[in-house]
């Protein structure tokens, strides 16, 4: 009986509405946090940071952002790549214009700028719904990418249109540029992810979150009970884009260090983040983590198993990779259509009753 709620009582409403009302969950959460902040930085090396952890952390932020829009507010968006590009280019312009300001500030402001752009492209959602909206957001995707490729002011008139992240610091520690330590970049992204997750959780359990979910579940009823659809949808676009913008800024500045807009923030990116959200579980913060982990880690694991252990040719492994990921997506759907988060929830429910199922 590892996992139980008997004996857990809430005596105030505040206690009852906290994120992890069950004590066991709470302890596990503290443990994971402590491990991530206090243990991992001492173990990490370049491979783990650059190949697995950084992409995971950054995609998780993007997935949280998109999940707010798609999973909580029900507005399907395929513009994520474009919004990440806004974050990245905003960050680049800020980094080069104000070299002495802390990188932390740049990333936040880049997020805010993306939020504004997100609101602008969110306006059509008031008229367009469902798959039509999804396709409409592709307009944002293609237009933004074209814009960043076309207007050379965005990439400081460099010859090729690539942007490069120069070295910038937080409290004197380099987090961008070539001479960073694995732990520093990891911690920088981890802090953003943790804050994002907490903020997202707080927003979704409160007033704003309820109006988003009301719009998602039944927009007409929501409007009739007093939800302003304009405000709800636009705040969702703003908050979502804020997180997506932060992830774009980190993706460019901390993870890759140099990007070209069409390649790094193309339509494929939009689909990838959407897949993460759907596979992880719509309307679940945990699902965003699970989805990001699944799509970042699984290909690496498959590659290691196929190429390094079994010694297969790299292209066959890459093709099998597609087949396996595709097959797993379909299989998961058939077993549990609501994503990894729901699988986890069901497992917990079973565990809660274990070992006495009745």
């Amino acid at each position: 009986m590892l996992y139980r709620e008997a004996g857990d009582f809430s005596s105030t409403y505040a206690q009852d509405s906290q994120t992890f009302p069950i004590r066991f969950d709470r302890y596990r959460y503290y443990f994971v946090l402590a491990f991530a902040f206090l243990v991992v930085p001492f173990l990490i090396n370049d491979y783990w940071a650059n190949a697995i952890l950084l992409p995971f952390l950054i995609y998780a932020i993007a997935a949280i952002g998109l999940n707010i829009l798609v999973g909580y507010c029900g507005q399907v968006s395929l513009g994520t790549g474009g919004f990440m590009a806004v974050g990245a280019y905003a960050c680049y312009k800020l980094m080069t214009a104000f070299p002495d300001v802390s990188m932390f500030v740049h990333v936040i402001i880049a997020g805010l700028i993306t939020a504004m752009v997100g609101v602008l492209f969110g306006l059509p959602s008031l008229r367009i719904k469902g798959f039509y909206l999804a396709v409409a957001t592709l307009a944002a995707q293609f237009f933004l990418v074209w814009l960043f490729n076309r207007v050379s002011w965005f990439y400081n008139y460099s010859a090729s249109g690539q942007i490069n992240a120069p070295e910038r610091t937080v409290f004197g520690i380099a987090v961008t540029g070539p001479n960073t330590d694995a732990w520093a970049t990891y911690m920088f992204c981890l802090i953003f992810l943790t804050l994002s997750a907490i903020i997202a959780r707080n927003l979704t359990r409160g007033t704003v979150g309820r109006s988003w979910m009301a719009i998602r579940d039944m927009d007409i009823a929501a409007e009739i009970i007093g939800v302003n659809p304009l405000k709800a949808k636009l705040t969702a676009f703003a908050v979502s884009s804020f997180f997506v913008g932060i992830s774009g800024a980190l993706f460019f500045a901390v993870y890759l260090g140099a990007v070209e807009v069409g390649e790094a923030f193309g339509i494929q990116k939009s689909f990838l983040v959407l897949f993460m959200v759907i596979i992880g579980g719509l309307g679940s913060i945990f699902g965003s983590f699970a989805g990001a982990a699944f799509l970042v880690v699984l290909p690496v694991v498959l590659k290691i198993v196929g190429v390094d252990w079994l010694g297969w040719p790299t292209d066959i492994v890459a093709h099998f990779n597609l087949v396996i990921v595709g097959g797993l997506i379909v299989m998961f759907l058939i077993v549990e259509p609501h994503g990894l988060a729901q699988l986890w929830r069901l497992a917990k429910e079973k565990l809660r009753l274990w070992p006495f199922p009745h």
């Binding site: 490729n149 090729s160 690539q162 390649e263 690496v300 198993v305 292209d315």
Partner: protein, 426 residues
């Protein structure tokens, strides 16, 4: 024993890799994804050359070589993963084969003290070794290519291009935009009229661009294309009856893949190159004997002698020669990446050496120096014969207009140095 990355991944704490007694040449290939057709032959050629060296010569300077292949799918993120996964194995030189991966590896390789060779792609201004200490792009870069095309046209037109109209059809990305500044400078210098026609990725649909070419009737079209864009462009050019001999592609638009789809209509299409084409070299006998007959051919083994296979072969040859040079400089056989860098900086390829290697006139003769990582920028021209389905060289490797290119290189590299506080390397 094969070193297993997985063990490292699982026990990352003990990540310091064991010292290997062989020369590791990572191959960041892309046998999948949108550009697989271009990536497969290059990767095959690169690998086959080292397989041959091992079998024929017992490696380089007595040390066996080992090619570690890692699939990038032309994707920057996978490129990072590949770089991080292979750098711990003592990888001597990276050839990322993608402009995107190049840009993001330039600072990383510099910090890790590993050289990188971007042959005919990547960041052009990396030719300035004073700023880009670990990046090499000999023997030719994009700007050499642009200049080489114009020089070829000058020769064709008796040295005078004034009043001519030249259109540039380019992949609308960092790569495709590279030649614009050079061509603009050259158009000022030689008085031709330049028009720019971007094509968005992937380039399946180019009707607008080619209708415009049909209306404007430029005398020549230069193309910086990649992937499906090439095939479609050649087809559309054939459709509007644009004279193929006036249509010049960069070397990434000049492989069999790009012209076969258009069939006979592609006959006469030209492409720049910095290495020779065809399989009429002694080295191919060795490849047949030591690689193919031994059943060791990379991939499906059906790419031997294609343009991009030759390019892979050429890249491998230059890498092997640089390693040999490094061994000579440092007097050790088992060189480190840092020594490899010195070898690359001191590399000298002579006609005699290439003949010795069974590759006479396979590429230009050139010499690398600390200041000049780009070589002399010698480019030649090839032409497609649709009947025999072969490319053939129609001009020697000739110099490009460094008078125009050098200031551009200096300007761009100076901007990079200033932005990143890079001190002089030489």
């Amino acid at each position: 024993m094969k070193y297993k990355l997985g063990t490292m991944a699982i026990a990352a704490i003990m990540a310091a890799g064991p010292v290997m007694a062989d020369l590791v040449f990572p191959s960041l290939s892309y046998r999948t994804g949108p550009y697989a057709a271009g990536g497969i032959p290059f990767a095959d050629g690169y690998q086959d050359y080292f397989t041959m060296i091992n079998a024929r010569d017992g490696g380089i300077g007595g040390v066996m070589t080992r090619v570690v292949e890692c699939e990038t799918g032309y994707n920057t993120e996978k490129g990072v993963e590949c770089y991080e996964a292979t750098k711990g194995e003592g990888s001597l030189v990276y050839q990322p084969l993608s402009t995107g991966i190049t840009y993001q590896l330039i600072p990383k390789t510099t910090a890790d003290n590993i050289p990188m060779h971007t042959m005919g792609y990547g960041r052009t201004s990396a030719a300035n070794g004073d700023v880009f200490s670990h990046t090499f792009n000999y023997p030719a870069n994009y700007w050499n290519g642009a200049s080489g095309a114009i020089k070829y046209l000058l020769d064709e037109n008796g040295g005078d291009l004034s009043g001519k109209k030249i259109a540039l059809v380019y992949h609308n990305s960092a790569y495709g935009k590279e030649p614009i500044r050079t061509l603009e400078e050259l158009s000022k210098k030689h008085g031709f009229e330049l028009s720019l026609l971007p094509v968005d990725h992937p380039g399946q649909e180019q009707k607008s661009q080619w209708l415009q070419i049909r209306r404007d009737r430029p005398d020549n079209v230069i193309m910086y294309g990649w992937g499906v864009m090439n095939q479609v462009a050649v087809q559309e050019a054939a459709n509007i009856r644009f004279p193929m001999e006036n249509f010049i592609g960069i070397w990434w638009s000049g492989s069999e893949n790009d012209v076969l789809a258009a069939g006979a209509a592609a006959d006469g299409y030209k492409a720049l190159t910095f290495h020779n084409v065809g399989s009429d070299f002694p080295v191919f006998d060795d490849i047949q004997q030591y690689v193919v007959d031994a059943g060791e051919a990379a991939g499906a083994g059906d790419q031997i002698g294609t343009v991009l296979y030759n390019r892979g072969l050429y890249a491998a040859m230059l890498a092997a020669e640089a390693a040999r040079t490094a061994q000579g400089i440092h007097g050790v056989a088992d060189i480190t990446p840092a020594m490899m860098r010195d070898g690359m900086e001191a590399l000298e390829i002579t006609e005699a050496r290439m003949t010795e290697l069974g590759m006479p006139n396979f590429g230009p003769a050139f010499k690398v120096s600390c200041e000049n990582h780009g070589g002399p920028g010698l480019v030649g021209m090839t032409q497609w014969d649709a009947d025999t389905k072969t490319w053939s060289m129609i001009s020697d490797f000739g110099p490009s207009d460094m008078e125009v290119i050098q200031p551009l290189i200096d300007e761009d590299s100076a901007a990079y140095a200033a932005e990143n506080n890079i001190a002089s390397n030489c």
